[in-house]
């Protein structure tokens, strides 16, 4: 019975079916199944399956994103029950994401957020056009391990440098690592401004985030 339910949970993630994931999560609560067990034995198996399929070239990015969204739904459905039981899902790390002040381009940043949260990070996405102060304040508030900041324009890219300088001045680093991204960002720019990492795409960003937090890639 439980095995069937767990299998259905995994399948809902593989199908990227958020509605089914929500329904199955509720069912688990009704059956008094430990929500952590439901996540780890059920839903995570689906995430891993899609990840493996992607790694060998059989799945594509939209499937990863849909699996990620379904996973997010399942976890948020189970969250009240976890709180009730005083348990917590183990997260790989806390990440604050934003597109820098003056810049409204968000597709890449949002995609990085989806991939990170699907991989087990807790993501605080502050959206676009976010002032440096607000990014750092949020990072302190949630005790973030990592900040990710995006820019598409060469004119706003310079604010990535400002963010890093300000973070240094406030003594937030090296405790908090800073990743940068966006079309004009190059590895030379990353070296110049002293960022901890960058990636040209969202899958790579997960790898870098894991590396920066000393986790197996």
């Amino acid at each position: 019975m439980k095995t069937d339910l767990f299998q259905a949970m995994a399948q809902s993630i593989i199908d990227g079916d958020a509605e089914a994931a929500h329904r199955l999560a509720q069912q688990a609560i009704e059956l008094s199944i430990d929500p952590l067990e439901a996540i780890n034995e059920g839903f995570v198996a689906g995430v891993n399956h899609v990840g493996d399929e992607f790694a060998c070239g059989a799945a594509f990015l939209p499937e990863l994103v849909m699996a990620g969204e379904a996973m997010k739904t399942a976890v948020s459905t189970l969250e009240p029950e976890m709180n009730k039981r005083g348990t917590q899902r183990e997260v790989l790390g806390k990440v604050v994401l934003a597109t820098i002040h003056g810049d409204i381009h968000d597709i890449g940043k949002t995609l990085v957020g989806t991939m990170l949260s699907a991989s087990g990070f807790q993501v605080f996405d502050l959206g676009v056009d976010v002032p440096i102060e607000a990014i750092l304040a949020k990072a302190r508030e949630v005790e973030a391990d990592l900040i990710g900041v995006s820019a598409l324009l060469t004119t706003t890219m310079s604010r990535q440098k400002e963010l890093i300088r300000t973070a240094d001045e406030k003594g937030l680093r090296p405790k908090i690592k800073i990743m940068v991204g966006g079309a004009p960002v190059t590895k030379e720019w990353v070296a110049e401004i002293g960022a901890d990492g960058y990636s040209e795409d969202a899958i790579g960003a997960v790898k870098i985030a894991r590396q920066l937090l000393g986790q197996p890639v």
Partner: protein
Amino acid sequence: MTKKIKSITNPAFELEILSPEEVQSIHSASLDIIQNVGVRFPSPKALDIWEDHGARVDRDRSIVRAPGRLIEQALEKAPPSYDLVARNPDQTLPLDGNHVFVGTDGCGVEVIDIQSGERRRSCWQDVADVARVADYLEEIAFHWVAVSAQDCPPETRGLHELRAVWENSSKHVQTESVYSEEEARAAVEMAAAIAGGREALHQRPVLSIMQCTASPLGQDGGSLEAALIAAEAGLPVGFMTMAACLTTGPATMAGTLAVGNAEVISATALIQLAYPGAPVFYAAAQTASDLRTGAYTGGGPEDFLFGAATNQLSDFYNIPLSMGSFATGAKEPDWQAGIENSLSTFMASAAMSDMLLGVGLLHGSRIWSYEQMLMDCEIFNVVHKMMEGIPVNDETLALEAIQTVGPGGNFLAQKHTREHMRDVYVPQFLDRRPYNVWEAKGDGPRDWARARAREILATHQPEPLEQKLSTEFQRIIQSLEKE
């Protein structure tokens, strides 16, 4: 000496990949989107204009929902043709539907240094150097700002770039790098200085302005306000969608066309509502995102199809088109660059897109390469030759010469051959040498292109900009930097 500008005109054939019914369907879908889903216009000024004309405006979310009739009536006010005026009047470009002109691509962030071959960050001098080479080349009709002048302050960078181009070329400049109201005001002032005053600028728009939309279904506030300033001054204004299948557009090409079209025609309608009859153009560089990474690709069959389809949309609205072609996703001038830039440019040309953007950038418009620039010109020359088609008449059928030569023999020594041999295409950057020569020399088209660019840079003297204009430009820029 700057040569006469080369353009595709009076084509022997024209490509139409969409039926009139399909164009109408895309148009109807876009109107439906604008009316019911809405488009984001994050600018109080733009929202005021929409509200004044009866559109539904959600101030909290900056979303505009406008009835189809309002959009259609506004678009009808746009002039179907006008000139992109150049500092040198001989280089003025008629956007009349019967010319295809090529510009430089923009806006890259790195340059393959022409002397060292090293990749490095772009600076002001690179903007100037690219402009000077482009000024020389007959294939290049107008400029975009090819690379970012990253050694200039961000707030006035777009103006420093304009000065760099105007000081090094007498051709028309279309900037894609001015996207704030303050910078647009200053850019208008610079253009007016060349044209001979604000009034004269309406007749002689030596500058045009291209703004990007923010797909899906959004605009950038600074871009909108810059565009309104430019339109008021009489500068041609265009909005470019870069909607990409899978990410900023639906997975299907028709859906991505409908989304991008909604962005472009809503912004264009705004300009017409504010300044009826202002010269505007349609701009587009749609693509498909990479299925594996979601990244911008800069090439592929979807790009080529979008290149052919979009001119049918701009024709439907009866305004000129600035179409993204070239601009390969390849990392260096290689096989991928060749296939992508050739097919995108052929398809966009065969549909008679008015402006093609543009030559010279690699890696999805990030890295400038002079080699690629020159080889892109070769691609345009090949397409130009193809678009002439095959003239068939008594003279070209050459029956007399055929009779003289008869079976066997050859045509090399015929008078007819001497008269027509220059109709045959002569490449600059295709290797047709004997195998042993290629083997012995060990060089190739990329080396020749680089050498040619070096030679142009070392020798070409553009028509100088009057010193007093340069001084005036610096004054305008400095006054903004002091504030």
